[in-house]
């Protein structure tokens, strides 16, 4: 369960202190969510289900969940470049289309149904197979390297959309834009008077970190 680490956080409340250009960019993101116009219905369902497993938002009321899939769809439609493409990958929009098809293909092979129709724990098994880099499915074997798709396309783009949203900033206690007033409380993790207070929860649940003390010879 994801706890509310900064229950008082509401970075948008500070918008009156932001400069015009920043305020416009952030509020536009919050209030003008694009409608779907790229993916077909099945791909859209798969994408929505994928977003919900990569960034679970069950702990938020439905009305306060950060929309992610529409931005991925919009990005595929507008073909805005990110500056590069791996030479073993298709272009971004095609990688999404193929990857979502691959996700359904793997779901059929692993769990016998389309990805969006599986319960969350089975969905996670499918994603784990893709994360490991060698999932069953023709798409992954012939068209798109699974591990590359997982990191570069699915994870980075979905997390990129989510952590661009003020609600996500509230979740992690990020103070957000600070021009023109700047930050003043700089030392020892101090809090600006307008920043949220952390309510520590159970010990950190991170895994995979190295044991402390590995010193190079």
């Amino acid at each position: 369960m994801i706890s509310d680490r900064y229950p008082d956080a509401d970075v948008l409340e500070q918008r009156g202190h932001w400069d015009d250009a920043t305020r416009q960019v952030v509020l536009d993101r919050v209030h003008n969510v694009p409608s779907f116009h790229y993916f077909d219905a099945q791909a859209r369902e798969t994408l929505e289900a994928l977003c919900a497993r990569i960034i679970p938002q069950d702990h938020r009321p439905a009305a306060r969940r950060v929309p992610i899939a529409p931005w991925i769809d919009d990005r595929c439609a507008s073909d805005t470049g990110v500056g590069f493409r791996f030479d073993d990958m298709p272009d971004d929009a095609t990688a999404w289309t193929l990857g979502l098809a691959g996700l359904d293909e793997t779901a059929q092979a692993v769990a016998g149904a389309r990805f969006s129709l599986l319960p969350p724990d089975r969905q996670d098994l499918v994603l784990e197979a893709i994360r490991q880099g060698d999932p069953p499915g023709d798409v992954w074997r012939r068209r798109v390297p699974a591990r590359r798709w997982w990191i570069q396309v699915a994870l980075k783009q979905i997390s990129g959309v989510y952590y661009a949203h003020p609600s996500a900033w509230d979740e992690i206690g990020f103070g957000g834009p600070a021009y023109p007033r700047g930050y003043a409380a700089l030392n020892f993790g101090a809090r600006e008077h307008w920043e949220a207070t952390e309510v520590p929860d159970s010990p950190p649940a991170i895994s995979g970190g190295a044991a402390p003390g590995a010193v190079p010879s």
Partner: protein, 629 residues
Amino acid sequence: MKLDVRLSPNWLLDLEMREYRPQDAVDFCIIGTGAGGGVLAQRLARFGFSVVALEAGDWHDSERDMVSDEAGSGRLYWNDLRITGGQDPLEFGANNSGRGVGGGTVHYAAFCPRLHPSDFRVRTLDGVAVDWPISYQDLEPYYEDMEREYPVSGPTHFPWGAPHGYPYAPLEAGTAGQMLIKGCQALGIRVVAGGPVAIPSGRVGKRPHCIQRGFCLLGCKVGAKSSTLVSHIPDAIARGAEIRTACMAFEIPLDQAGRVSGVRYYRTLPGGRRIEEEQRAQAVIVAGYAIETPRLLLNSTSERFPDGLANSSGLVGRYLMAQAGPVVWGRFPDLIRQYKSPPACALSEAFCETDAANDFVRGYALQTVAPLPIAMAHLIAEEDGRFGEGLVRAMQDYNHDAAIGVLGEILPDERNTVTIHPTERDRFGIPVPHMRFSLFENDRRMMATGIARARAVLTAAGATETHAVPRYAHLVGTARMGFTPADSVVDRWCRSWDVPNLLVCDGSVLPTQGSANPALTISALAARTSDWLRRAVPAGALTRRPSDPTAVGSDGRRVRAPAGTARRSQSDVRAASAEIVSAGLAEPWVGSTLPSQTRRFGTSQLRHQRSTTESAGVKPIRAVPTRWA
């Protein structure tokens, strides 16, 4: 035309900018306005040359265009298509590219260390890669100039390389930076606080000091962080240079005599219409950085240069280097709030030099970095591909994380290349570059040791767990400078061996890269090349190809390059540069003027036609010091 670009809250750049007609040959057409091109334009304009600098992007107005927002800052980067491959494919766009006036300096972290003297001699000292054709001493005076002109904050005594001090006091470090300092102190590792970083700890002209906003990597809305956009380009314009934006160069044409005649480019007009133009020029300087520079040369084919302009050596696009830039972060029990204060604020160069105890040569620096939320999420994703609750909970620890960047020297290798993709085109229809990049054994060992060291530092500072992702930063090396036409693309003055009036002056000329962020070195090289051009052009140096120092004369002895323009003028050149600083760079350019004289270029006196749009309203106020005339 009258400019209308805000560079800081109280600095509106509203100079009348000179405009040249494309059909009139200017002295220099520079391609790019970053760390190299920005300084070149400023210096050459000050020296009385007529200058047009082509910039593919637009102006960055600090109020209108820069935002305190990661996802909303895409306009800072080169987002056109590039293809990447190799065993360890590099990512492009974002942090290792720049677009718009000021180039990558607009969004760099602003760490501005110098190279060490040993960095220029790695073949001699370590038996790897190549030596530079110049020494640290050749560049040192220009480092000093750039540190004053950017300007750079840092300690009074910087202990590594050739010890030196900085003109501005050390910057205040936030908590994240203090973790690097704390960990190094605990382990007895020498570390410096507050620089070298190009954020002056005080007011400079119309640039206020830093407000600790922490969004350095997305452009400085305050105008405190130095970039050529605020440090050199306003002066370039005041001295008569034209910065021509929205111009994407696609070919440098060669004339019958084997000289370049100008630059062909696509210009996007206000409203979006695209036209093709050619700016005529007596000489061309390519300053497009390590990908666009070789791309442009390789795309400029001719009967004489079927494999790309100035590429008789076959080395254009070879020896692509990225700097190793693994990010290592630790979780601390106490709050850090790493988003406050400039991410660049402390570093250690204790491990930059070759150490016999290592199983590799050369080394790495440890520097503060402070990923904003999206960057942090990407690091976590890249570390192990985790998702779901594991990802979200790790991100909830954001305010407990402090990070260190390991900035390490990857050695140049011929197999790491920029070539032209046979079929892919960008949105202009220009063939795109294809990069291939692989690490080799020395690189891998260096990165592993650097990562282990950074983990140890964070642990010593109190981190309860550490994480690492191998990443890369900075791109250099694809048009290297060297000793002979066979071993390099340009000579010690950044001049093409093949084409007398073509120069390359940006990160691509670096033969090796050390463990220093390259911006200051690129600007120092640009200042040095400008000083040389000031003397070399009147002496006719750009009318003939550089002599091959390996050529054998009739007496059987090696022919030395003609002295004439080279090397003789270091002290004189220093005086001129110092005067530039005192004459204006430390103060705003209000009331300064456009130089009125033209300069003898080669053997012909140039006359410049002004376009009808700019001739009115330009009032000469202060002349360039006469000793430069």
